[in-house]
Symmetry: C2
Subunit: 222 residues, 2 copies
């Protein structure tokens, strides 16, 4: 049976995503879907983010990759719950689907979490087309990818709630003007919140951490 | 009608790709399919490569992007034939298909070319699954993406004939060991040729230029 929301007929994927979202809503868990190109620094951002949240909230992570458990093992050192999904079990899928998340979400201790961060497969195109049941979509763009990326890959910037512009410590050596990136993001999505940071140095993280804290509080009705 | 090669039944995409390859074979044109993550430097590599080939051979370029004609306009300054394919006309497709290439290949002056370089859509996963009719697959990996990328995105490294490791000018500032990247590429595909270069400084380009020249000569039976 297809669920109709207004006039829109939901895909099977989106139906499953809404079921996951309902579970997370009932548990009061805020869920982030983090998306980007390969190598933009998603996992390094998590490595800097998690220690700043520990003690304030209970965090779980779902790592999505085509192959290897490298990313999950980088997160496990924080001794928080981590699930690794490798899509090579699904033909090397280029994105996480709602079903992949739904099938594994209960491997996390949902009654003991306030926040789940899902690190999607590194891909600036396909993940934008598949809801997974998260509350917020976060796009990471690294300076090294060049300032024109929002123009060339618009869908993910149109869909996201916040953009993390990473590797700002390399702005000088790369001779990249942050205002150009800002302008290009705004051309595609004028309302998209932007945080400029460096996962390497830790610069700019307080704004990102506050964004998470505010959203976790709101989700809990606090 | 499906064409059988040995026991393998070709997909519709691959059938079209083989038709394109046949046309290019008849014309004696060597064709490269260049693939990578967004922002690894494919277009900048082309900007450094084309001037070193001009006068020695006749080059045409096909630019694949989800949106914008930014890349084609960067190539047009060399006054060589360029075709831009934007996949937003095809639902924002995450890769070039054989049909997209076949539909536009005749927009290039095929009787006046020795080499066609196709710059695929920036995506380290999906383009590996779609033949387009090229003679050789080239994967570009930039240092800024981190040394573990071949392990995490194996298919494209298994399929490719040569890997260009770009942005080596940043090795020191990023504290990345080129031997680690080399080792990771070899774990996935021991036979994959590797060229370390910097499209920014021009370092390492002679090996890449020789690779192209050798292949163009071989294709022409010289």
């Amino acid at each position: 049976m297809e669920i109709k929301v207004g006039e829109k007929i939901l895909s099977k994927n989106d139906q499953i995503a809404l079921e996951t979202k309902k579970i997370l809503d009932e548990k009061g868990i805020f869920c982030i879907n983090m998306m980007s190109s390969p190598g933009s620094g998603k996992t390094t951002i998590l490595e800097k983010t998690i220690p700043q949240l520990m003690g304030k909230m209970r965090v779980g992570v779902i790592e999505g990759d085509v192959a290897t458990e490298i990313d999950a093992s980088r997160i496990e050192k924080f001794e928080i719950p981590v699930v690794q999904i490798t899509t090579d079990l699904f033909g090397g899928s280029c994105h996480l689907s709602a079903k992949m998340i739904a099938d594994r979400i209960n491997d996390l201790p949902l009654d003991e979490l306030d926040l789940i961060i899902v690190e999607n497969v590194g891909n600036l195109i396909c993940p934008a087309g598949f809801m997974i049941g998260a509350d917020a979509d976060v796009v990471v763009l690294s300076l090294t990818e060049g300032p024109e990326k929002p123009l060339k890959y618009p869908a993910i910037f149109q869909k996201s709630h916040i953009a993390l512009v990473n590797k700002i410590d390399l702005a000088e050596v790369l001779e990249i003007d942050l205002d150009t990136i800002k302008g290009n993001v705004e051309k595609i999505n004028p309302k998209l919140e932007k945080v400029f940071l460096s996962a390497r140095t830790g610069a700019g993280f307080s704004e990102w951490i506050h964004w998470i804290e505010d959203n976790v509080r709101t989700k809990k009705g606090l």
